[in-house]
Amino acid sequence: MNDWGDVLVTGIIKSVIALALLMAGGGLLTLMERKILGRLQTRYGPIRVGPFGLLQPLADGLKMLLKEQPVPANAKIGVYLVAPAISLFVAFMAFAIVPVGPSFFLFGKMRTLSVTNVNIGMLYLLAILSLGVYGVVLGAWSSANRYSLLGGLRAGAQMISYEISLGLAILGVVVLAGTLSPIGIVEAQKAPGMTWFVFLQPVGFFLFMIGGVAETNRAPFDLVEAEQELIGGYFTEYGGMRWGLYMLAEYINMLTVSALVATLFLGGWIGIGTGILWTVTAAPWAQLLGVFWFFVKVAFFIFVYFWFRATLPRIRYDQLMGFGWKVLLPLSVLNMLVTALYVSLR
């Protein structure tokens, strides 16, 4: 097999696996959220469908597929139908560069455990994340509903306010690691004299966490879909599986952002205490253990997401903007400057 064929085949195999896992993961996250929220709110969450309610996501999916999907009379039908797909597409695309485990040799080539290993991965990521707002804004505008419109406006403003500090937070890590490739960034955290970037970039970590929550429109920054104010925000007029696509996109975005936090700041697949407490060298175990550690870290941040939602009230629109521009942006610029200074003097 020549080089191109190899790239094509591995690309397709990886994409299919990643898509399947992400879809399943998004579904499982809805269950996990309802379970955890339930426990935090002194109730059970879903328990009826399947053992421990494990089949609930399936039942929900089936329900959404079977539902009638009315289209509002004045909707711009084309855009209205495409918008949820854009959201989901962007969510899938963003995950493509996330490495879930260490690379390994197979069939004579180095294989990465991410769908694609782009050497400008972080740049690609920022570009894709910015596209996410299109699904929201277009859906909001095309459904010809005033609540949706307000949700869309909020989405636009919110994304602009947060993307910059998010980008600058990533940049701090990039400068420190000296590479834009996510795999390179993880490797850099393993390099001698280095440690997880959360210790070297605490401010960046903080900024990225906040920016990430805002990016995914989750509580306390869920103003875009603020149920108590805007009913559903941008998806007020969506029902059935169209709404399901938006939801799935949101959950996959959560997965992506959690995975990015793990990759950028918590050493990706590097186990806790690896190199200090123990070392793993045997090939298959190292891969599996790496994936395991990665998922533990992602799961932790997903839990933090749910925790936020159970605890915090929603921030007001203007307060969020003020916070983004007046606090986060100067802080991220400062963080960037200090990091750059440190790296250039090192």
Binding site: T42, L223, Q228, I231, A310, T311, R314, I315, R316
Partner: protein, 393 residues
């Protein structure tokens, strides 16, 4: 009803089906971006004709209607109506009855405020608060169920006394609640009062100046949040409230936070009253002994002809207060809850009207919501703690 929008403004129809209008309130909002320029509350979507129905029911039966008007503080509705009729009849109930009524009314105030804090938290996105508040309210509902067999529409407070004496389990249950609740209140404070985001969202929002509040006829925590120490329990004591030691909580700025703070403090004060009432509960009869007003005991009916006749007359014709009209106000969960009853010496009230505190508090909404944001509007509606059941009647 309509607002004429300017060229650069948008009309948003908030409700009647909207998650945070606390029932079926419709609010027309004129928006400039997200800034609210004009607010017009539109009520009547829950109109049930309860007041009119009251004219076709006997005095005893009207109690069931009162339950259903202010459905979050049923016992206080009952109490206000029963006090009005008792005033009309010119009767004085035994001490024990008064104390039990106070005890129940204060439990009801806590339960009403719990629903408020839950829904208000939900409005601002603190969704767990809702579950916690309802968990605590459940305890009060359990007490009510144990007492009367019904969780909400108790009809426990009757003209001339109560439906029956306290159950043996009542005291331990209330004691348990008194022991349990202060920790929960502390939890709420940790979750909301000390929460940076919560304070940001509520401080300085929806300010209601005291003079406006008075002119609008506001009462209850909505008025006290603006710093006016008007509490019917202190200014016009009824049912023996003068015997109890409690403070009237007032806010300073009249914003959403102050109204929130006042209610939180009121829950603690109510708990104090409950404790005092339980400690000093006098012994004695649980209703008056007047066969023209309260029915004879059941075992007497089967042995005494005279009792049977009294029973029959009371339930077919009803009790007959002398001609006259009375207004009796109590401090309900939302403010001055008053009942106006006119008698023409028949067994049914000639006119029966409720002064619903929510109705007046809602009036102040346009004043409070001027030039706020949509998110604030939701917070302000929540902070007035309206119950549409008593607004529309």
């Amino acid at each position: 009803m309509a607002i004429q929008p300017r060229e650069d403004t948008m009309i948003l129809n908030l409700g009647p089906q909207h998650p945070s209008t606390h029932g079926v309130l419709r609010v027309l909002v004129e928006l400039e971006g997200e800034t609210v320029l004009n607010v017009k509350p539109d009520i009547g979507y829950l109109h049930t004709g309860i007041e009119k129905s009251g004219e076709r029911l006997k005095y005893q039966q009207v109690i069931t209607l009162c339950d259903r008007m202010g459905y979050l503080d049923n016992m206080m509705d009952e109490l206000a109506y029963v006090l009005a009729v008792e005033k009309l009849l010119g009767i004085e109930v035994p001490e024990r009855v008064k104390w039990i009524r106070v005890l129940l009314a204060e439990l009801e105030r806590i339960s009403s405020h719990l629903v408020w804090i839950g829904t208000h938290g939900l409005d601002l996105g603190a969704m767990s608060m809702f579950m916690y508040a309802f968990r605590e309210r459940e305890k009060i509902l359990d007490i009510k169920e144990n007492l009367s067999g019904v969780r909400m529409m108790t009809s426990f407070i009757r003209i001339g006394g109560l439906a029956q004496d306290l159950t043996p389990q009542f005291e331990p249950m209330v004691r348990e609640f008194i022991r349990y609740f202060p920790q929960r209140l502390q939890e709420y404070n940790e979750l909301l009062t000390k929460n940076e985001i919560w304070v940001e969202r509520t401080k300085g929002v929806g300010v209601l100046p005291p003079d406006v509040a008075i002119n609008m006829g506001c009462s209850g925590p909505t008025l006290r949040g603006s710093g006016v120490p008007y509490d019917v329990r202190k200014t016009m004591p009824y049912s023996g409230y003068e015997n109890f030691d409690f403070e009237v909580m007032v806010g300073r700025n009249g914003d959403v936070y102050d109204r929130f703070w006042v209610r939180i403090q009121e829950m603690a004060q109510s708990l104090r009253i409950v404790e005092q009432a339980l400690d000093g509960l006098p012994e004695g009869p649980w209703r008056i002994d007047d066969r023209k007003i309260v029915p004879p005991p059941k075992d007497e009916i089967v042995t005494s002809m005279e009792s049977l006749i009294h029973h029959f007359k009371l339930y077919t014709e009803g009790l007959k207060p002398p001609v006259g009209e009375v207004y009796q106000a109590i401090e309900g969960g939302r403010g001055e809850m008053g009942y106006y009853v006119v008698s023409n010496a028949t067994g049914k009230p000639y006119r029966f009207h409720m002064r619903a505190p929510s109705f007046y508090n809602l009036q102040a909404l346009p004043k409070m919501a001027h030039r706020c944001l949509i998110a604030d509007l939701v917070a302000i509606i929540g902070s007035t703690d309206i119950v549409l059941g008593e607004i529309d009647r």
